[in-house]
Amino acid sequence: MQSQHASNRIAAYSTPVILSGLLLGLVVLVALFGDKALARTAAETLVRVVLVVSLWIFVGNSGVISFGHAGYMAIGAYCSAWLTLKPQSKALFLPDLPDWLMQAQWPVFPAAIAGGVLAAFIALVSGAAILRLSGIAASIATFAFLAIVNTVYSNWEGVTGATSSVVGLPRYVDQWVALGWAVAAILAANLYANSASGLALRATREDEVAARASGIDMYRHRLLSLVISGFFTGVSGALLGHSIGVLNPDSFYLGITFISLAMLVVGGIGSLSGAVMGVLLLSLLIELLVRAEQGVAIGATHFAIPSGSQEILIGIAMILVLIVRPNGLTAGKEFKLKPQWLRQSRMYGAKSTN
């Protein structure tokens, strides 16, 4: 039995390797064959991978739907902007920043980490209150949190610039930077999911009462997963900001909340592979439809679908996937090596799923 357990564990750790390999392969392909616009699409998709994987760390393990993650993104993005912008431009556009922050001019990498840390800290504080709730009440509370963050950031003139965009962020996020963070997020997600806390949390997701009866402190595990999730969500916000170059609270509101949840659910909320595949497949489909809107030349004729049909078709595609596969494309399964292969014995060929 010991060997089965060990090989199951190794198999579980093969998931991030497979997923990272997949992402690396895509980036290399784009670097070899794509143009500037395609490279940008790759970077954008990988930033979404960071976001959806971080969302999965909390939602996938706890089973609580969070509408609040765009709020953590905003917090991370603005924090990174405060630290990296030139002091002159901060003095002009964000005059109420405290002096030490006004003078700060950090390199981009520590600034992204700081964005993540601040988001994780806010996740700890907000989660401490919100996670006392469960089920739909918790979800609504996360939404209220998002609305609060959005209202505050949209009106705090001297510190966030309110509805006026924060400008001049260095646009350093290319596909390689985004790939690095995506791999880091996937590794962290896998490590957490296979840790004692992650397993305990998933037990509460399956059966809250039984898990509680087994002595699992649901509140503590939820809070821990939200903090880890908040860190990477904050980083994804920083990456998004440094890829667009301009920050506005509006970028971190309902639009991104829903599209990230949709990617997670379409891919399969039950597994890390589902989170990654949801992003890749929906992003690919969107890109194909956008190209179809621009038109493709087949022979001498030019075919194009009408502008605006991309949004309609992507919505229909999401509905169809959910009807055909209500548990998402991966239906909760992970991509991983089969434990049997690792054990070279088919005696305990139990199929393992998460």
Binding site: A147, I323, N327
Partner: protein, 304 residues
């Protein structure tokens, strides 16, 4: 200081609007655990049904031409029809799915409806002059109130009473209440699921249409985004009131509207833009104090 009667009318008319929207969301949640994010788009759809589809800037009245006596039932029926059609096309196939998958599907459906409206009508908001006479101010108890505000308050009361009677006195109402209470058990006892669900969607769509008519009369504009904000407030009110509790949804809808108006009236100018932050902080506090909802007896905590 602001006239108290004026404040009362401002608050109850906004609260009434929220209450009606919350009722529409709660009805569907009750029978199939679906948080219907497409509800806001039902509202927008009903508004746009008043005008001829065209991307021109000037709106030409279509259904809006009809006299009120015909227009109101037609729009209500249309709202019901859209909701029933969406149930038939989408949610019926998701009955056994997880509530999260249904919720995302409803969001995707809303996205499709919104973009279809954008494609048919263009992105520029349109103006609609529906019953401008209703915006005439009337003097009551020292307050000057647009006639429409009174109508909203009276309509909310009528709709809620009507719905209460329907739920209490008719067979379909009984079935709906049973289904809202415990859907599986109700089915086992012979409640016809399809009929109940279709009924709930029809009523919910009609409520969206009523909200649409009130909003368009009040604001005079049609915009694809117009249902979004009210839907979110209604969604919050539904949870605050206690999920599955229809009177709770109505009461919480009123409460959110009233608090919002009171905050707008009493906050100092510098804090007024932060109105919604205060409102949502109160929402979290309420949830923490009464996780099962404000208007549900504490004994309603689910047992294992």
């Amino acid at each position: 200081m602001t006239n108290f009667a004026q404040l009362f009318f401002d608050a109850t008319s906004l609260g009434g609007l929220y209450a009606m929207a919350a009722l529409g969301i709660a009805l569907i949640f009750g029978v199939m655990n679906l948080v219907n994010f497409a509800h806001g788009e039902y509202i927008a759809f009903c508004v746009f049904a008043l005008i001829v589809p065209s991307t021109d800037a000037v709106a030409v009245m279509f259904l809006g031409h009809a006299p009120a006596l015909i227009l109101i039932p037609v729009i209500l029926a249309l709202g019901g029809l859209v909701a029933v059609a969406s149930e038939y096309a989408v949610f019926r196939h998701l009955r056994r799915a997880d509530p999260v998958a249904m919720m995302i599907a409803s969001f995707a459906l809303g996205f499709v409806i919104r973009n279809a409206l954008l494609a048919a009508y263009g992105g520029r908001p349109k103006a609609i002059s529906l019953w401008p006479g209703l915006n005439m101010p009337v003097n009551i108890a020292g307050a000057s109130v647009p006639l429409l505000q009174l109508i909203v308050i009276v309509t909310t009361l009528l709709v809620v009473t009507g719905l209460a009677l329907l739920l209490k006195r008719t067979r379909i109402g009984l079935e709906m209440r049973a289904a809202a209470e415990n859907f599986t058990m109700a089915r086992l006892l012979g409640v016809r699921a399809n009929r109940v669900i279709t009924g709930a969607f029809a009523l919910s769509g009609a409520l969206a249409a009523a909200v649409a008519l009130i909003m368009v009369t009040q604001t005079g504009v049609a915009d694809v985004k117009m249902g979004g904000q009210i839907m979110l407030v209604a969604f919050i009110a539904t949870v605050l009131g206690g999920l599955g509790s229809l009177p709770g949804a109505v009461a919480a809808g009123f409460l959110v509207g009233i608090v919002s108006v009171v905050l707008q009236a009493w906050l100092p100018l510098e804090a007024r833009p932060f109105r919604d932050a205060f409102l949502y902080t109160l929402v979290i506090v309420c949830l923490l104090l009464r996780p099962q909802g404000l208007f549900v007896p504490a004994s309603a905590k689910p047992r294992v």
